[in-house]
């Protein structure tokens, strides 16, 4: 079976010719474009629910903060707690560790920014800006290497801070990146001391 179509759709003599320089767009042209645009916007709008359903859901967002009792910790001890599914290191630092961190000049750091969610974005990475405010012995950090997300090992590496076994990033006793592929210091999450021995994270 085959059909032959007329080579051109018959036009009435009164139809305006779009190639005519004096051609005025008609009401029909307007409707065609408006309908098409409306359908396109609608289709794009429907993409969003399909994309956004992959973002963290209400139950994931609900687990936003935790409280940790640190009354039993002694200097030199560390604990790891879970916050939003991520490990958070809480280290009660020794005096030597604090001194070593304080002695480090900012110019020696690979990342001179504090990366502390409790301070404004550009704060320098001094030891005061890294440790918990008012409790300089406590260092609280998300225990996730800023390179590709492994969990670094404590009291390890050249600076006796943290060492990431995955690709060899080395952090000092204030959790600042010293060498290796990681670009940033370990992140200090939002935290407050609810009382002298309870840390609230998040």
């Amino acid at each position: 079976m085959s059909y032959t179509y007329p080579t051109t759709v018959p036009e009435s003599a009164s139809d305006p010719d779009p190639s005519d320089p004096h051609y005025q767009p008609s009401r029909r042209d307007f409707f065609v474009i408006a309908t098409g645009a409306f359908a396109a916007v609608g289709a794009v709008a429907f993409v969003w629910p399909f994309v956004d359903q992959m973002n963290p859901d209400a139950s994931a967002l609900a687990l936003a903060s935790i409280e940790v009792d640190v009354s039993a910790m002694e200097p030199g001890q560390s604990i790891t707690v879970v916050w939003r599914g991520k490990p958070v290191f809480i280290r009660y630092r020794t005096d030597e560790e604090i001194a070593a961190a304080k002695d480090t000049q900012l110019s020696e750091l690979k990342d001179p920014v504090a990366r502390n969610d409790n301070l404004e974005a550009g704060a320098p990475a001094t030891d005061e800006n890294r440790a918990a405010a008012g409790h300089e012995a406590f260092l609280v950090m998300v225990g996730i290497c800023t390179h590709l997300g492994c969990v670094p090992l404590g009291e390890a590496g050249d600076y006796n801070g943290w060492f990431c076994p995955c690709h060899g990033s080395v952090y000092d006793t204030a959790g600042r990146i010293r060498h290796g592929p990681a670009p940033e210091n370990l992140l200090v999450p939002p935290l407050t001391f609810a009382d002298d021995t309870t840390i609230k994270i998040g």
């Binding site: 599914g85 590709l148 969990v151 076994p165």
Partner: protein, 427 residues
Amino acid sequence: MQGTSEYTPRTGIERWIDKRMPLPRLMYDSFVSYPIPRNLNYAYAFGGILSVMLISQILTGVVLAMHYAANSEIAFTSVEHIMRDVNYGWLLRYLHMNGSSMFFLAVYVHIFRGLYYGSYKSPREIQWLLGVVLFLLMMATAFMGYVLPWGQMSFWAATVITNLFSAIPLVGDAIRTWLWGGFSVGDPTLNRFFSLHYLLPFMIAGVVILHVWAFHVTGQTNPTGVEPKSRRDVVPFTPHATMKDAVALVAFFLVFAWFVFYMPNYLGHPDNYVEANPLVTPPHIVPEWYFLPFYAILRAIPSKLGGVIALGLSVVVLFLVPWLDTSKVLSAAYRPLYRIFFWVFVVVCIGLGYIGAMPPEGGYIIAGQLLTAYYFIHFFIILPLLGFIETPKPRPASITEAVLGRPDEPGEPATPAGATAMPERRG
């Protein structure tokens, strides 16, 4: 190559179908009477092997999904349940697990064959591009499949790979959170990976149809790189390619079976039999063997964004190969210099794989950086340059001349008895 159809329906029912939906005609013209160059060697068998591997992975995967549970609480246990309780569960899982390795083994041979015989050159560029798309889809599928058993390697592979996206400036962190569906790899991540792991193989199957369609339009390359010029240069697909592919497939399955039955965990990593623990990273994490060269490239650049760009570029560069290679000669057999550089490149890729498996320290870092540099030099400098400085060897006038080793005399019987036996002419 698009000749007229040689299909003649013999029975009434065949004629009835042919008028309504000529699928048998399509199959006959594509896989029976379809002319292929008469000089194809075993390197050309891997396309067929790959199709069979895809079917095998889909079959074993569909039945494994009947027993697997994509929930981070029980995923690990459900895989152990498949291994211990499900009837033949161990066999199905080992087939699927080692099948992915065999799939990649075949695809690497297939890709290198394409590079050697210039299968990406005009007029086969689209076919090559579709092939690279298939390779990317395979990589995504394999990666997500590896996460499903929810062992330590699964979890940390997922973590490291999804973190690659956080290197993108500005939107990186938002993309990573979106991929995870949370603030770390967790249950939502596992669920969506399972859904996509089930979906992607069917997309692969769709692109395979386009890939096969493309080579039925342009015809296959062949070891001489000279296009078939007459009926004497070709033989029908069946029985010639069918039988040769079958022989290759049996040999390939012997290797496959050796892994499945004698060392099913050899290519895996023991840490993946430890359940995922978000608080402890295994001391030495490595991807599956088929990703090692790319992993070595990632680690060779001492900057996060730089490493991710190099990794992406190392795959994307394959898309550019048809335009990077400036030589008009297809087959490396007639390109004395390219032939040497091709084998050097193969060795470099294997070397990168070795480096990828080693810890990132000392000499391994330097070696990884040198090999990575060479990898890119091969594509961006050597390939474009060779076309200008190389003098190709004289090529045979036709495939038949290359096969016979002397000029083709059209008067004599076209080819040795048997080779011409067109089944449709025989009866």
